[in-house]
Assembly symmetry: C2
């Protein structure tokens, strides 16, 4: 991986990843400082510093005269949040100032990133992307601006369809519409399915960007109870559909933002069947699916869709190339409607990023990059959970996502996450307070944390400081 | 200019441009065939073919034993359209199927392009753009995806501001928001200014993409009488504002699509004053301004704006780099509102196209490219008007834009442009029928023609065939 880490941080990261992947198990002895310094070709002092770092994170422990050993995972103590219980009514959506503050914080150099919704740019294969984009730019064809009009670059659509086939989904190149990232795909899909004032069912809590899309279109949200591990409660969803006129359901189905929960295959099948029974289309926001920490990519709900009622939205922004702004939607029976809205909204997506991604998918080791990315995220998750367990006061709960880079922390009830955000902001630590994720402004004592950044001393310090602020606020 | 023209076409084009620019005046003798073949290093037969081509277009004439002479312009016969007279009420907007058919026609190889809204990709400096984009991709920075979040690439905004300064506009880099083309800029601006159901004043006829943006947001349109040379009628605009609750006015102010009309400086000043008097913000769609055929770029209405009430939208798509999908808006006092909507709609604009355009504007001869582009457009306009004059039946009127690449033709009253479109489509000739440009579905006997394509034999043949279809339909 190409990173901007210092030597000792890179060594610590590599070892942490090996521990997260089970190469070293709890109780295993690690290579000695001397061995490590040889392996990585660094000074003994640098290797020592890496081990100190891992010890400080609680991942390893030194035993006198025996060396360094992998610690027993301590995180089991930290309980998971329980299922949420939003009010069963629809709410107009109005997103606070705070979302924009949060988006601006991440642009400030030196700001600790746990509040961000973006993974670290350090995690992506910049040199390779840069090379394929340069080559795509050199091969730029005079007529590409015409040919790449919606549905978009044909070769890129073919290669995306190939990945669908890999996961068992019968999505064809002509079923795919290229968009300016997944957010445009979601916005166009929502617009194709609804009129202002219509109600849309969402999980609760739900990502604020989704709420903003709902707000922008003047829709109402019906929040549905959701569990931090198993996702949306289907009987509550059915109740919402029975009691209110729901025009669409919009859900992340794997490693969802902010909870980290995933619907298993059975639940996805039941979800699709339920929605089909009630003729409610599903906008499936599936931008984190490639970031599974386990061996298998979870299936999308789209896999179970036989009637074209699932509009499946994907993106390269979270797993490969953030600045390219290329996403897509396989909108089923709404494909033509969404294509027309795309033409009416932004005409087309830029040619060079599309051609570059097509070239990357065709000729570069995407899966190798993903394996490395997943290992980093799995290790960073462990560091994050360990840090919460260590620094946060008793009474906290944290979700345990099996993929992605976001988790949800329930703080003791008396903590006000908005106040905590304001305090943390003063110390240049960014966090995402719970009320941003609910039109009903619930989750006042919750925060979303981002572990999509290399685990550095600065990150550790930010978590420690957060813990102090929370403890002081109790 | 880099083009795909054949040799004789390129020579004809160069001579036609020299005639359009006044290098050769009516009555002037042209170089002999022999001289021309030497000058261009081609066979006598090729030079002869170029002269035949120009003669066929009516630009030059052979005189026995004397050589070739520039013809007297014959186009003065062709009258201009009169001011339009739309009904004085607001109308919900619903754009027909036909717009999407038109957008799809231009993707079909071999389709004659006069119906398209895009200039020919042949007119742009592809090799240079390709080179600067490749170089921008190679220099791609890991943090650009964060830094280029709205308002967008700082260097690009600085260089756009520099061009504003050149035209006397006090627009600063921080006043500019980069968007996915001008259409996104217009859509975001409209959304910042209105709520569904609000009325927006537009010129009549108006570009269908603007109508689609209005439709998408559920707004109503008030069409205002407009003249093909002088643009919107200000007293009619004021009457509309006085009699109806108009929330915004959206206008092209120079070389507007589809009429080709331009508001002169006095009228722009009066327009801004009028709107300010009534507190109606102006969305100024100014994407054609750089394409003036005369010596001077017309000022934008934004130049006369002292209160931040003009939201000025520009783009590189029409004058430099169509497939890059980079536009902008200087939204005055709505800058922050529009920036937030951009974050909520598509998050950001892709980094590489922004960096490439910044590099082009800083280091490449943009103005030289523009001069060459303008000369091509001026010459193609002359060819188009000459062709209308020659092939269309009596009773036609055509506008005479002083810039851009679109003109408006009023056909004899009994002609139905929708039927004409259907007939022409069968013969792979694309035209844009008048009713697309009016929510009230006026202009049944009008068409918009695009002269933004190199004038070839195929174009001449398409115009001749169109003339035959019109004549037969009378």
């Amino acid at each position: 991986m190409e990173t901007g880490l210092r030597q000792f941080e890179a060594i610590a990261q590599a070892l942490a990843e090996a521990i997260a992947c089970g190469v070293y198990r709890p109780g295993d002895r690690l290579p000695s400082i001397r061995q490590s310094s040889r392996t990585h070709g660094v000074a003994m002092g640098t290797a020592l510093r890496a081990y100190d770092e891992l010890e400080a994170r609680g991942l390893i422990e030194a035993r006198a005269r025996s060396g360094y050993f992998v610690s027993a995972p301590r995180v089991a103590r930290l309980p998971e949040p329980e299922q949420t219980t939003p009010a069963r009514r629809s709410t107009p959506v109005e997103v606070s100032e705070l979302v924009f503050r949060l988006l601006d914080e991440i642009k400030i150099a030196g700001f600790a990133p746990p509040g961000s919704a973006f993974p670290s740019p350090e995690l992506f294969p910049l040199a390779t992307l840069s090379r394929v984009a340069a080559s795509a730019a050199r091969r730029l064809d005079r007529w590409s601006s015409v040919r790449d009009l919606p549905p978009g670059n044909a070769e890129l659509r073919r290669l995306i369809a190939k990945r669908y086939q890999l996961h068992g989904c019968a999505v064809q190149p002509d079923d795919i519409l290229i968009t300016n990232g997944a957010l445009e795909a979601i916005g166009l899909s929502l617009q194709a399915l609804t009129r202002p004032g219509d109600a849309v069912a969402i999980k609760s809590p739900t990502f604020y960007a989704t709420l903003q899309a709902i707000e922008r279109l003047g829709l109402r949200a019906v929040e549905v109870a959701t569990h931090a591990r198993t996702g949306i409660d289907l009987s509550e969803l059915e109740r919402a559909i029975r009691t209110q006129r729901v025009h669409a359901c919009i859900l992340m189905t794997s490693f969802q933002n902010p909870l980290g929960s995933t619907l298993d295959d059975d639940k996805k099948r039941d979800l699709v069947a339920l929605l089909q029974r009630h003729s409610v289309p599903l906008i499936e926001d599936d931008v984190y699916a490639e970031l599974h920490h386990g061996a298998l990519r979870p299936r999308p709900a789209k896999y179970f869709d036989r009637s074209g009622q699932v509009l499946h939205c994907g993106s390269f922004a979270k797993c490969l190339a953030p600045g390219f702004r290329v996403g897509w939607v396989a909108a089923g029976r709404w494909h033509e409607a969404v294509r027309r809205l795309k033409l009416m909204t932004s005409i087309a997506t830029a040619s060079i990023p599309q051609a570059a991604l097509a070239s990357y998918l065709r000729d570069q080791p995407f899966d190798r990059h993903l394996r490395s990315l997943r290992a980093s995220l799995a290790s960073q998750l462990q560091s994050m959970v360990t840090a919460i367990d260590r620094y946060f006061p008793p009474g906290c709960r944290a979700s345990r996502p099996e993929g992605g880079y976001l988790l949800w922390v329930e703080l003791p009830e008396q903590i006000d996450a908005l106040q905590l955000h304001a305090q943390a902001e003063k110390e240049q630590i960014s966090i995402a307070p719970g009320p941003l994720f609910s039109p009903q402004r619930r989750y006042r004592n919750c925060i979303r944390l981002n572990f999509g950044h290399p685990w550095t001393g600065a990150m550790e310090a930010a978590m420690r400081r957060l813990g102090e602020l929370i403890t002081a606020a109790r």
